[in-house]
Subunit: 152 residues, 2 copies
DNA sequence: CAGTATACGACCGTTTCTGTCCGCGTTTCA
DNA sequence: TGAAACGCGGACAGAAACGGTCGTATACTG
């Protein structure tokens, strides 16, 4: 159920890693994969997806690799998940295309759609920068605070 | 990815249906299944899970069936999901037991755990009663409003 | 040119999800 | 006293999603 895929998980890790190394012009998929123990070829494909979605900039050839295309603050977890796993839907009934065959009789469709939007909002309010928070040395310096209003 | 299972989906529908019929002493699994077109045997097992978790009260025999064990306002979506799909975790690394094998090197574990709690909070703030909101006839009468604070 | 890197698609084993079946215990009612 | 209506529980099978690998083509560097 409500679980991130490992691909999205890996994608977030990779972006965080890139956010933590802003000095380097580019990091290869293998570099990042080795840093965490992620299967390299799999990570490569994930990074390709992120590139295709415009979150990363890639560069082939020696000393090539990937770099963030924007500031880490401007990349939300929602975008990452969307880029890797496709459209974000809590339910099986995507409003656009084919859905679960009992959409007509279903009465919780609309309420759940609002829940969906709420959770999407939470995800949207989280940036890669937030994840990359460096070692809050003194105590527990709260970094980001977002207010989400749930409206049913 | 972040998607409700159909079981949880069905479970919510069923509870909503029960909440909408407080007068009847009990509704059978078949009654509810027929009302929506849900596979009856599957719904039956779902209702059994909800009963085992104490959200429903069951009664065997003729004219038996299920009834809410508490007021619809006191049953949260979180409880339903938890009862049907088990512990709620966004990531594959449950803090309790065996997890994804790269937990040691992983650096987004803690931040994601907080995201997990936030989403769980959202789900906890939604009750069956909220879903069962009867026809907001005039315009769009906002029913419930919950405030969730996201703290990374 | 040789070496390093991304790009892209095919493929496959595993797990999870969805749904069905069957036999059993319980309650009601004729 | 028995049949019917119902919940309970496990086993199981088909389908889909996931996680991961491989091979090959392409692009860039020096
Ligand atoms: S239609 Fe109702 S049942 Fe089918 S997916 Fe959407 S919400 Fe779940
Ligand atoms: S450990 Fe890191 S990678 Fe493994 S599941 Fe938890 S978060 Fe995802």
């Amino acid at each position: 159920m409500l679980k991130l895929t490992k691909k999205a998980d890996y994608g977030l890790m990779a972006l965080k890693y890139l956010a933590e190394h802003p000095e380097t012009p580019a990091l290869s998929a293998k570099d990042i994969a080795d840093a965490y123990g992620i299967p390299a070829q799999l990570l490569a494909k994930i990074l390709q997806l992120l590139t295709k979605s415009g979150l990363l900039r890639s560069h082939a050839g020696m000393n090539g690799g990937y770099a963030l295309s924007r500031d880490a603050r401007e990349i939300s977890a929602y975008e990452v998940i969307h880029a890797i796993d496709g459209p974000f839907f809590i339910t099986s009934c995507t409003k656009g295309a084919k859905s679960c065959d009992l959409t007509p009789s279903c009465t919780i469709k609309e309420p759940l759609a609002r829940v969906n939007d709420t959770i999407a909002g939470v995800l949207r309010s989280i940036s890669i920068y937030d994840l990359a928070e460096r070692e809050t040395p003194a105590g527990r310096a709260v970094a980001a605070q977002a207010l989400v209003t749930l409206t049913l």
